[in-house]
Symmetry: C2
Subunit: 235 residues, 2 copies
DNA sequence: AGAAAAATGGGTAGGTCGTTCCACTTGGGT
DNA sequence: ACCCAAGTGGAACGACCTACCCATTTTTCT
């Protein structure tokens, strides 16, 4: 039961206060590899794959990150910061409606850029207490933003913070389904959703054109398989 | 809506012309079980689970349906008929816009009612030639519907058949994320999408209220796990 | 009723995944 | 430079899924 890892200063999610130099190096290698794999293949990549790709033994990974959630927490900490920053930036915009539109687009773009992050945002991942804390803070700011945007009369009064969650889930679905075959499809979804949020007469960014006619239908051949094939690229 | 599906002349997928009586009985038991499991847990339930739940040996399942796609084909044949029928019904509506709205709602409701079917619709499942054929026919009718609805001036001119595909993918995402915890969330998404499709001034069904405030956040604790736990219900 | 063919299900082999244990290597304080 | 503990990777284990083979049971035809 010796856990020297948390003996000294486990405040928050510090990398590793009492970690040996090589251990810390391995830790970072693991996180970097996981970030890459999660981004391209979504969460659900097996721990074994990550360990293999990072060039460490499975035991090492398990020791450093006991559960998958712990690893996810470490991987997406900075993305969560960016997420929170997006709200701050939107609040700084002198035009709340413009800020709102930009925020929605920015967050959905983050989802599109990182399949793993899309899952994190859409699925309220269970563990990751630290992530939840940051999310809560961002959420609070978002409520402000909604309020101000509504005050301009250009965001419909029936828009709710829940609608943003719904959009995140919907966007995750589109991103997951289209994959690499039609990577810009999500923009059209977001454009249409914004249209639905906007009060009549509000200015809107132009609607993204539909992807190449056949692209969508050829897109989602990946079927149900959630995890990437083990013999994929994994670097 | 009468479906003499199994007795006389179903469209396309004859059950088993030269099957022994007990074999045919088992076949139907398998299909029924698969339908139930797929509906509740989505595609991706293992063949072994289905065989176990149906009370037949794995070999029996494998012999009757060599590939997973074959089974899916048999399971969703009638749903696909319903899908096609929805287009026909929409086309029969004297008001094309009203028909269009009803069609969108009906198809999305089908997705919500059956997680497996949601996957089939959203993912253009690879195999299942027969399903594809039916889908193609329905698709053709849908193009007609769009044309007519646009002619009324109430469906925006920039709506594309691809938008329906996008909606199906987005809806699948919402349904997958909300699960059983907030089962009506998809209705709000559809309502907002319809709002985006509608030309200014077009009549729209009232927007579904947001689900219970906390429901969404407590909803998707299921994380990434695609297949149901083996020790679930499969009763 | 009896026999042949059809159909069944359990067992085995080969694969993945996650966890745990253990002998070896390596870092870093002294 | 030394030496112990922190750290490592691989092996072993149990659980799961797919695919296949074959002895046994059941249906159906004569």
């Amino acid at each position: 039961m010796d856990h020297p890892a948390d003996a000294s200063a486990p405040s928050g999610e510090q990398p590793g206060p009492g970690l040996r130099a090589d251990a810390e190096r391995n830790r970072e290698r693991i996180v970097a590899t996981a970030r890459r794999l999660y981004a391209s293949h979504g969460l659900g990549v097996s721990m074994a794959c990550i360990a293999r790709a990072a060039g460490v033994g499975k035991a090492t990974l398990s020791r450093r990150f006991a559960t998958r959630e712990e690893l996810i927490n470490a991987v997406f900490a900075d993305r969560m910061d960016a997420y929170a920053a997006a709200v701050a930036e939107a609040l700084a915009d002198p035009d709340p409606w413009h800020g709102f539109v930009g925020y929605v687009q920015a967050v959905c773009a983050m989802q599109a850029a990182d399949r793993g992050f899309a899952d994190v945002l859409a699925m309220t991942f269970p563990a990751a207490k630290a992530l939840e804390k940051r999310r809560a803070a961002a959420y609070h700011g978002f409520l402000d933003l909604i309020e101000r945007a509504k005050a301009t009369g250009r965001l419909r009064a029936d828009f709710t913070d829940q609608d943003m969650v719904i959009l995140l889930m919907a966007n995750a679905g589109v991103i997951a389904a289209t994959g690499d075959a039609a990577p810009d499809t999500w923009r059209r979804l977001v454009g249409q959703m914004l249209r639905a949020y906007a009060a009549p007469g509000a200015d809107l960014p132009p609607l993204e054109p539909t992807p190449a006619p056949t692209a969508l239908y050829r897109a989602m051949v990946r079927l149900t398989r959630p995890a990437p094939g083990p013999g994929d690229d994994l670097g």
